[in-house]
Subunit: 378 residues, 2 copies
């Protein structure tokens, strides 16, 4: 293998692939990046066996020569060292050559590296994904869906299926749901190009967080291919594979209350700031619980009391309060996460009593629903 490449393009490709690299992998070769070069261009592959990322750098792009391929071939190089070397090379022209088996020579300006590569034959083959259930979503919509749901997955491995986000197509729409059994986030959307067959898969939260870092912030379409144990997200130049979680995702539809006794409409940003302040003292005592009171007036009171540190009272002017008087306590963190997901819009909170789950929605938009279980404090 021998080729010359522009350092900045190589660096772009590496930075995507590096997101799949973990230092804690069971298979030593996965600490490496697989490099394959032929006359069409360069393919980089990185994997931690849960996530696999492939990027393709074309030899020519828009008439610009990016790679000059002298001899095609492949090699696996230590990911961390290789990406650091590329980042620090002195010029934008880099020549990479593999000779005498796995000896890899990297040259740029007056800098010469000789790395000992690993055998690409030992690198695991990519998961096979047939084009079974294929549909697509704009990248920016996918980023929103991920941001609005993934924070609510369980951080505990006791019920592994809850560490993922359920993606379910039925009744003509896609529902994305995450819950850690104390709160739930649900995002509904109707893809322009719906998959033909209903499906239901659970994608690991960690995979979605890494995918979110790679997706561009624009309307470019991402193809989503779902197979038995894998999901593949395809964008221009990047293939992102994730394994799926096994096990039955719980039926959450019965959790969501259909009626309410108290409804509060308020600006989400003002409420978020007030809860952030109210939780400052609660955080010190590690319970992080705040109290929320609404009565016939339009002023909501948020308070918190920590015997050793002190107490705090916040008043927030609501846009409207209807229904029964209410005193309820909940985790400030869960409420702040939910409000951040709804992103500062005016919101409606619907309560069915101090001991029942309550829901948050944007005033303008029914597609995002956040549900939180209250905490008993008295």
């Amino acid at each position: 293998m021998k080729f010359e490449i522009m350092r900045d393009k190589l660096l772009d490709g590496l930075s995507d692939v590096m997101k799949a690299i973990s230092q804690k992998v069971a298979i030593p070769i996965l600490t490496g990046i697989k490099i394959e070069v032929d006359e069409k261009g360069m393919t980089l592959t990185g994997s931690d066996s849960d996530i696999t990322i492939c990027t393709f750098i074309p030899a020519e792009d828009n008439g610009e020569q990016i790679i000059q391929v002298v001899e095609k071939g492949s090699i696996v190089l230590q990911a961390k060292v290789f990406s650091e070397i590329v980042r620090k090379l002195p010029t934008n022209e880099v020549t990479i050559e593999v000779a005498n088996g796995l000896q890899t020579h990297i040259q740029s300006g007056k800098s010469e590296f000789h790395l000992i590569g690993l055998d690409p034959e030992d690198y695991p083959v990519l998961p096979e994904v047939k084009d079974d259930y294929l549909f697509s979503l704009p990248a920016d919509l996918m980023k929103s869906i991920i941001r609005e749901t993934v924070f609510a997955v369980s951080q505990q491995e006791t019920r592994p299926v809850l560490t993922g986000v359920l993606w379910e197509v039925k009744d003509g729409g896609l529902a994305c749901i995450a819950t850690d059994s104390h709160r739930l986030a649900r995002r509904l959307t109707i893809p322009e190009d719906m998959p033909e067959v209903p499906f239901s898969v659970v994608i690991p939260g960690k995979s979605l967080q890494e995918l979110n870092k790679i997706l561009p912030d624009n309307g470019e379409l991402v193809d989503i291919v779902i197979a038995d144990q894998q999901v593949l997200f395809k964008t221009r130049g990047v293939l992102f594979y994730s394994r799926l979680l096994e096990g039955n995702y719980p039926d959450t539809s019965r959790l969501i209350p259909l009626e309410y006794k108290t409804s509060v409409t308020v600006n989400g940003r003002l409420l978020l700031q007030a809860i952030d302040r109210a939780s400052l003292l609660a955080r010190e005592e590690r319970n992080n619980i705040v109290r929320f009171s609404a009565n016939e007036g339009k002023v909501i009171e948020i308070s918190s009391n920590s015997p050793e540190v002190g107490k705090v009272e916040e008043l927030v002017e609501a846009i409207g309060v209807t229904g029964e008087e209410l005193n309820i306590s909940f985790s400030a963190k869960y409420m702040m996460d939910a409000l951040k997901a709804i992103d500062g819009q005016d919101i409606t909170i619907q309560f069915t009593g101090a001991m029942r789950p309550f829901i948050l929605k944007s005033v303008d938009d029914d597609s995002i629903l956040q549900l939180i279980l209250p905490v008993r404090t008295y």
Copy 2:
């Protein structure tokens, strides 16, 4: 105590004082900040018993009313909670009132905090510093001096005096010296306003690092008062006290070679980048040693070899090489630290053989000297 203050001014003062606050203090009251208010303004004090920082916020500044004092007094409040509260308050007007002993009421907009304060009578009194040895330096010069020396202090407590920087006035100049016994950094300067009596003190490296964060990046004069066991740095509005280290600082003057056998003049930035790259492989094996070769030509070779990872060779075009041919090995980290202290200027490196300490100096400026002990590798 009762007063009203502008939130942003309080925040500025707090951010300086917070640099003295540590969560790992032996005296519980030092997790707090002491607040004193009288008709002239507000004094904030924070301390970890090694470092003490006082800031003063005047009631009126340039005709602008910053504090409205209703009743003077003092209180100690938990530093972390208090500074987070102030940072997040909803409006720029803050009222702070102490009533019923230590009950502290903080109010801003529709936000009300009640904190349980600590008794200011229990707060340690400030170190007494008589105006014994007083001189001054511009703040930006002090920042340079700190940056050029403090990195070379010892990180180990085996010889506590080496964890500090020696500041010594004699022969009409100030010498600042740090060494961890593997390398040494020395900065000479002649203060415009020299102290009248020679002195020699050792200031903890950590104190200088915190002081560096507080000093403004301009020519404003900093008064330096040295007493028996304390040094006090005075800037406009801030008093920074540090304890001094006890024990005799070793005589380092004999370490510095007065003649040389090989002299290399080279651009510091180019050499730094080449060493950074050459050490990429060495870092993986945790020895971090690079080899440096100079012969009659003007090209320096820097190389490193890690049996399991690979090897690297860097060529750097020197401005000039004179004297004997040389092959020497040293810590890439020490060399990079020294080159960063000299900050990208053209430098001269003077060697007296592969096993003897060598020195680095700026070509333009004799005031900074960096010394490094080589490593035996063969």
